[in-house]
């Protein structure tokens, strides 16, 4: 019962469509090259987490990928970009700057900032490390654990 009450309060607090934006399921990457190359350094994030133009900008600047060189041969790079753009999410940027970090998106911050303890974050080391807490992240499941 307590949970139902809490849920109701949370639902009211979040009214305005936030629930629909929580993205607790996002289809995982199925494209072989994308899966292999992206997951060399981090989970292959679902394409639906960023709008098409984000993937285009990112895949065009792999020599400085969040502070590291993640260069690929041109054939692989183009193939991965095409997959990510084709499976990208909705553009929510409303004409502002192109988002590049999923962890900077308003819904991501909203979902994580008060949810993740300092200790949890220290263990995960980075917002990039979804699977540290979301054990089924690679299957596209991002429910609260």
């Amino acid at each position: 019962m307590k949970h139902i009450l809490l849920f109701a309060i949370a639902a009211i607090a979040h009214s305005g469509g936030a629930f629909a934006d929580e993205m607790e399921y996002m289809p995982p990457v199925t494209h072989a090259a994308t899966l292999e190359e992206c997951s060399a350094c981090h989970m292959a994030y679902p394409a639906g987490f960023l709008p098409p133009q984000s993937w285009s900008v990112m895949m065009d600047a792999l020599d400085d990928h969040f502070g590291e060189n993640a260069g690929l041969d041109e054939e692989t790079r183009a193939e991965i970009e095409a997959y990510l753009v084709a499976n990208a999410g909705r553009d929510r940027s409303k004409g502002s700057t192109v988002p590049l970090r999923i962890s900077d998106l308003p819904w991501f911050r909203h979902e994580h900032e008060e949810e993740v303890s300092k200790r949890q974050f220290e263990q995960a080391k980075s917002w990039a490390n979804c699977n540290a807490c979301h054990k089924q992240a690679e299957q596209g499941i991002f429910e609260d654990d």
Binding site: C41, H42, M43, D63, D64, G67, E68, N69, A70, G71, L72, A124, K125, S126, A128, N129, A132
Partner: protein, 130 residues
């Protein structure tokens, strides 16, 4: 017709199986290209040093690989990196394409430039000696 000519040459140049190699073979190849014998000591020094030419978040190989190549490292994303020393991880330095890809990326991240053949030979000589 042109394609018929190209095909046999391509088959000769690239074996059908994934390029497989060994640390010793790579060491020999890079040393030959460098025209000098590799030095494990120089390799260790390069690996351990803090560099300034690259990206600020990755001043050294040890940033992610730690100072002990026989144990696992950790990427800045939190993802574990398997050990670099072949004695601890037999898969290391067995795939030329993979080795070239990661030298290409990481030398540019840490040094801000490609590594020379001599530097690659030195680093492999050190890692293979551990």
């Amino acid at each position: 017709m042109k394609y018929l000519l190209v095909l046999p040459i391509a088959l000769l140049a690239a074996p059908a199986v994934a390029q497989s190699t060994t640390p010793a073979e790579l060491l020999a190849q890079y040393s030959t290209k460098a025209g000098a014998e590799a030095s494990a000591e120089r390799g260790q020094a390069l690996f351990m040093a803090d560099h300034t030419g690259g990206k600020p978040d990755t001043p050294s190989c040890t940033t992610c690989h730690t100072a002990d190549p026989k144990s696992a490292g950790q990427a800045r994303t939190g993802k574990p990196i398997e050990p670099l020393a072949p004695s601890a991880n037999p898969e290391r330095f067995t795939d030329l394409k993979f080795v070239e890809k990661w030298f290409g990326r990481n030398c540019n991240s840490v040094l801000g430039r490609d590594c020379t053949a001599a530097e690659k030979a030195d680093v492999i000589a050190w890692l293979a000696s551990l």
